[in-house]
Symmetry: C2
Subunit: 291 residues, 2 copies
């Protein structure tokens, strides 16, 4: 398959390295320096001396591919959608963003649109080096368009050391992930704890349960089932520093808008705990600037 | 006047030093070491070479006084009330605790009971040394019993460098202070900012306004008037580290129960922002123990 991966972050690099073993992969990046590095040296997965050779181009040089995988963050999605609507005609596009903020934008894309959830742990170490910190899977679903294209992706991409699975209900797939993010991300950032803090500290756990219940009410999911799931994820990733805590520590903008912001935008009911953490994370994003 | 001050913390020491200039003051403390230090050397107000001589006794040695001033923290009030109900007959008792948690206990005391709010900044430096970090005033009101006794206190205690004033409505007096505490204390602790952070950071300010509105609804106070007051206090104390932030930094128990806890206990309505910060402060109190 000719695969175009858009975005040279941790997930883009990881996908590029694993998929280029069987496919003709091009990774589209924003900066010339990253393009050159990858073209000259390939991508390295940390603790693995082998380099994975693939082609890199700038996003502005987007070419025809059999399918596209969009791995940029929610905040950069606007530019990418602009490129895609102009250039892509028939090829399916798979979106792998966190949260659900991007879902509101996907109707703009004509052909087949798929969404997916990445459960790999990955950390970008350098412009062409990624650490694969946790082996997981990618689960994908049809958002609109043809199921056949998605089946082809699953069949062609899946390998035992890089599982790709399909599920039927995109809302449940993204919703489950959103709930996990809406609980673990803001609370770990607010209390400056690793993911395990969500279950080890009884008061943080009680806040987490409230957040989970509010999120499930908005998305129409079973609250006690999802709360079990959130706790399992917190347990399985207990030593991990959540992406939001990482962003706050490094004084970067977080994915607050795509997570708690999405829930607040999609309900008319009061969800005060979600609203409290949403405003708190905004406060923490600004705190560095004010102090 | 024969005055018995119960509690050898910052406020007890400050009161002792100022009042012993005109009155026969005994300060009642918990530990023998502090009793001895004060009896031998008196109390020092930092940056003032003069020592204020007064008598110290243990709380268990409580004697007859013309009036008692209770300066212990909310958490230690149980023991003190036990002593007072056994020993005090007719002498009035003035309570100077933060918050309103103590109000629920005051009906146990027979004679005249007064409550007051201390607006002095004071920091205990050693067992007989207090730093007077901010000159302010003490405002007192009748909780139950005779007004004459309170008028005598105000007349006898008031000095230009140590103002003591009387107000008519104890609920408004303590309520106003409680609202200030219920906004500034938890938010400064949660976001690790000085008091000015409440007004400088627009998102923290918006959380503060919500907390103020919830508190005013519980206490039946005018919300916009109190919100002006909270902002003025935050402005006037902008460089100060709040007592709750101090307690959290030093991994001590905070006055959470007497502040947000009081509001939650005294309403049947949902006050979710107050509930969120109440649980958050409990989480932070435990955090040190778990990590």
């Amino acid at each position: 398959m000719k695969i175009g991966i858009i975005g040279g972050g941790a997930i883009g690099l990881l996908l590029g390295a694993y998929l280029c073993r069987d496919h003709n992969v091009t990774i589209y990046v924003r900066r010339n320096r990253q393009k050159q590095l990858i073209n000259e040296h390939g991508i390295f997965i940390e603790r693995n001396s082998r380099s994975f050779p693939l082609r890199a181009l700038l996003s502005s040089e987007l070419q025809a591919e059999d399918c596209y995988v969009v791995c940029v963050k929610q905040q950069q999605l606007g530019n990418v959608l602009h490129l895609l609507t102009r250039q892509v005609r028939q090829s399916p596009v798979l979106f792998l963003q966190n949260g659900m903020g991007h879902v509101d934008l996907l109707h703009r894309i004509g052909g087949s649109v798929y969404v997916g959830v990445v459960e790999h742990g990955a950390l970008k170490v350098a412009d062409n080096v990624v650490a694969h910190t946790g082996a997981g899977r990618i689960t994908v679903a049809v958002y609109h368009g043809k199921t056949a294209g998605l089946l082809a992706i699953v069949d062609n991409w899946h390998r035992d050391d890089f599982p790709v699975e399909r599920t039927g209900d995109w809302k449940l797939l993204l919703g489950k992930k959103l709930i996990v993010n809406a609980v673990i991300n803001p609370l770990t950032a607010l209390f400056d704890v690793v993911n395990g803090g969500i279950i080890d500290n009884p008061d943080i756990r009680s806040l987490g349960q409230q957040l989970c219940f509010e999120g499930c009410e908005v998305l129409g999911l079973d609250a006690s089932q999802q709360w079990e799931h959130v706790q399992t994820v917190a347990m399985n990733t207990r030593e991990n520093v959540s992406s939001m805590l990482k962003d706050i520590r490094e004084q970067r903008q977080t994915e607050n808008e795509a997570i708690s912001g999405y829930l607040l935008k999609h309900t008319k009911k009061r969800i005060p705990y979600t609203s409290f953490v949403y405003t708190s994370i905004k406060a923490m994003e600004k705190k560095g600037l004010i102090e």
